[in-house]
């Protein structure tokens, strides 16, 4: 099986190309560090596999996601490397190309974003450049698919090539380095194929390579060789070893580009600069972001989501329920079956499904932020604030993704370089209010705060962020604090998101929510309904004597001080650990049974507005859902931190809901 590996700098369009060539949909976004794990797909023509990897600047990784790519190249042997480069930033992209050529597999260069390069007035003579570098180059526009067929053809051809193309390329690094390389090569066992590449990578300070070579060679010897070379370079050139290597490569690249690239246009103010003049303005930066968030909730609730969701609600609880009911009657179904379907499944699953419009709207806006280029700007605008609490601006990216769903948010923390900052980000991202929680808010604000829906929901999102920042400050005092914080991000030019990308990306995110409703929540609803249908005295007991009531009553006294000491809320909270939407299903099942007034009518009997707000705050903060706990475990690889994330959240939720409820009472709210 042919295996083609996509490699290249971050944000050069590798995943866009992957999607085109394999007809799949992986996550695309306009900032550096979108892809954080390896993805494998089958080529359109079924001739082989294509592997998408996280973007890297060089083969020596600084962060977790970059490590994925380096380890892939160390441990596996792809048939060829498909090197994606950004044509508008050729020079810096080619540093990686040199390292890939040295690696020793055939390389084909996908010259991507030629549309951008052309607009910038860069005139690239592709044939000449291909001759200079000595590899096939195919100009493409991954966004539109231009050139993709030709690229695939060329790649397949060269992957079958076992001649010169498949042997490592040698570039001359000057006498000092060449001496060190041959000494290292001699130390390495014969079976290692790309010894020269390994030696060079070691001299560049590539940690995974060092770890690999330690298995074969005495670490002390390796260290000695490195230190000696570093000293020699310092003495002869007065410059660091890594810088020396970089300079040598820069010279090679200069040679290539001199004859093949011409600038035909003067640089002038770009559209990106004009947009940045507003969104990154000294005073407007943070207000613009908040206004954008407010607009998001206005769209999600007032203008778009809620009207649709109401229509869906009346469809489900009217038309669908009536029809299912009359169908069951005519089919002569047992009363038990009828109750499971109507009171369990339709109330439970339907209760969640009605919020699909809101959730898709939110995902659409998040996708827009991701694909426009605003993400890196938000990170920059927020950096000062986050530095103050021991994080850096990049931590805000996982948090924004977390607004959609905490699971990918936590995974996105892989791009944060410093281990402590990454850990903090993982621990705090669950406080970001995700779309599942949105369904709980939708239910409550629709009932209690009809006039100020957007504002109330915005207040919860902001509360989540503020609590996260405060805790970051607290934790960074106590966690390892010796590590120095750092911040650097690449700011991509703004791009107008394509409608196709936006809709795909919204659907990919929203699909999970719908699927969960059809599987997990479906099953959960049946179980919850059963718990509500049975009790110590047998089947078909009143809800107030059911097992559900018993379970809910265990924690309701504890919740009394927060304003929601009824057993219904208790039961909803316990089941909500599975997934936060289950809170809505549980309430749907509990309250649907005795009354016909509808869910919203029923909850007004059990909550006052203040109690409802306190309940929402508790739901926002109390524990990460099951899936999130799982990903915290796998990303931190530590049971201790996983437990910590659950327990601190419970404590914080309790304290804050308590304060809000009590303060609210004192201020005369009810």
């Amino acid at each position: 099986m042919i295996k083609l590996a996509l490699t290249g700098n971050p944000n050069t369009g590798k995943t866009s190309l992957f999607n085109m060539l394999t007809d799949s949909y992986e996550y695309v976004g306009n900032w550096a560090g979108v892809t954080i794990e390896k993805k494998v797909g089958m080529l359109n023509n079924k001739r082989g596999q294509l592997i998408d990897l996280p973007g890297i600047y060089s083969l020596s990784p600084l962060s977790r996601d970059e490590g994925v790519t380096t380890l892939y190249l160390l441990d596996e042997t792809p048939s060829m490397l498909l090197n994606v480069v950004d044509a508008s930033q050729l020079e810096r992209n080619l540093h990686l190309t040199i390292q890939l050529l040295e690696y020793g597999r055939p390389v084909v260069l996908a010259l991507n974003m030629i549309d951008v390069a052309k607009k910038r007035g860069l005139n690239i003579d592709v044939e000449q450049l291909a001759k200079q570098i000595g590899i096939p180059i195919v100009p493409v526009i991954a966004r539109t698919g231009y050139g993709c067929d030709a690229l695939l053809e060329t790649s397949i051809q060269s992957s079958g090539d076992s001649g010169i193309a498949a042997s490592p390329r040698r570039f001359d690094y000057g006498p000092v380095l060449e001496g060190a390389i041959s000494r290292l090569e001699a130390m390495l066992p014969k079976e290692l194929t790309s010894a020269r590449w390994l030696a060079l990578q070691l001299l560049e300070g590539n940690i995974p390579v060092l770890q690999k070579l330690r298995q074969y060679v005495d670490p002390v010897q390796l260290q000695a060789c490195y230190v000696e070379t570093e000293k020699l370079v310092q003495e002869t050139g007065g410059i660091r070893l890594a810088d020396y290597i970089r300079d040598r490569r820069a010279a090679i690249i200069q040679g290539w580009l001199q004859q093949s690239v011409r600038e035909t246009k003067e640089q002038h103010t770009t559209l990106s600069e004009r947009i940045d003049a507003i969104v990154m303005n000294k005073f407007l930066g943070i207000p613009v972001f908040l206004a954008f968030m407010y607009l998001t909730f206005k769209l999600t609730f007032d203008w778009f989501g809620t009207p649709l969701s109401d229509a869906l609600d009346s469809l489900l609880n009217g038309f669908v329920r009536d029809n299912v009911s009359s169908f069951l009657d005519s089919a002569g179904a047992a009363a038990f079956i009828k109750a499971v379907l109507l009171d369990g499944v339709i109330s439970g699953v339907g209760g969640v499904l009605v919020f699909v419009p809101q959730i898709f709207m939110l995902f659409l806006i998040i996708s827009f932020i991701e694909d426009s280029g605003y993400m890196a700007r938000i990170a920059t605008v927020m950096d000062k604030l986050l530095e103050g609490v021991g994080l850096n601006g990049k931590a805000f990216i996982p948090m924004i993704i977390g607004f959609g769903c905490n699971v990918p948010g936590i995974m996105a923390a892989r791009t944060i370089e410093q281990p402590k900052e990454r850990l903090l980000t993982i621990l705090l991202t669950p406080l970001m209010s995700c779309s599942a929680r949105l369904s709980v808010y939708s239910l409550f604000v629709g009932t209690f705060f009809e006039k100020n829906q957007a504002l109330i929901v915005l207040s919860l999102y902001v509360l989540g962020v503020v609590v996260a920042l405060a805790l970051a400050k607290l934790f960074s005092f106590t966690l390892a604090k010796e590590e120095e914080s750092m911040f650097i991000v690449e700011m991509p030019p703004y791009r107008i998101p394509q409608w196709r990308t936006l809709s795909r990306s919204t659907w990919e995110k929203g699909k999970g929510f719908v699927r969960k409703a059809g599987t997990f929540i479906f099953g959960g609803s049946v179980v919850i309904w059963m718990l509500g249908y049975s009790g110590f005295s047998g089947w078909n007991v009143p809800m107030n004597e059911s097992f559900l009531q018993t379970i809910g009553s265990v924690i309701s006294p504890i919740m009394q001080p927060l304003g929601f000491g009824n057993w219904q809320a208790g039961a909803a909270l316990i089941t909500g650990f599975l997934a936060k939407e289950v809170v809505v299903s549980t309430m749907g099942i509990i309250y649907a049974a005795p009354t016909d007034a509808g869910l919203e009518g029923a909850i007004t009997q059990f909550f006052t507005p203040l109690q409802a707000y306190s309940f929402m705050v508790f739901i926002l903060l109390y524990v990460p859902c099951l899936a999130t706990v799982g990903v915290i475990r796998s990303e931190t690889k530590s049971a201790k931190w996983t437990w910590f994330s659950v327990i601190y959240a419970l404590i914080v939720a309790y304290i804050i809901a308590f304060i809000i409820y009590r303060a609210g009472l004192l201020l005369g709210f009810h």
């Binding site: 600047y57 060089s58 600084l62 508008s88 930033q89 020079e91 810096r92 540093h95 910038r120 890594a242 810088d243 970089r246 300079d247 820069a250 640089q267 990106s272 940045d276 990154m280 000294k282 005073f283 930066g285 890196a376 990170a379 920059t380 605008v381 950096d383 000062k384 530095e387 601006g393 370089e417 410093q418 120095e484 750092m486 911040f487 650097i488 991000v489 690449e490 700011m491 030019p493």
Partner: protein, 76 residues
Amino acid sequence: MMTLLETTAGSNVKVTNLDSVHALVRRRLGDLGVMVGSVISLRKTMPFGGPCTIEIKGQWIAIRRKDAGSILVEGV
């Protein structure tokens, strides 16, 4: 000899020394093409001592002000 922060926004300057920049930031800057000898310019600075953006060959990068203050440059 001056630091990048002392230059006027938008004017091109040449990097002469990066030795006192945070080591990891220096690595990343190198990856993005900012080395001794590169021509860069300071663009925007965020308020309250926040980060600033620099431009190199049409590429924009945001770094902290402290790091920008340790990049030594000269006029071109």
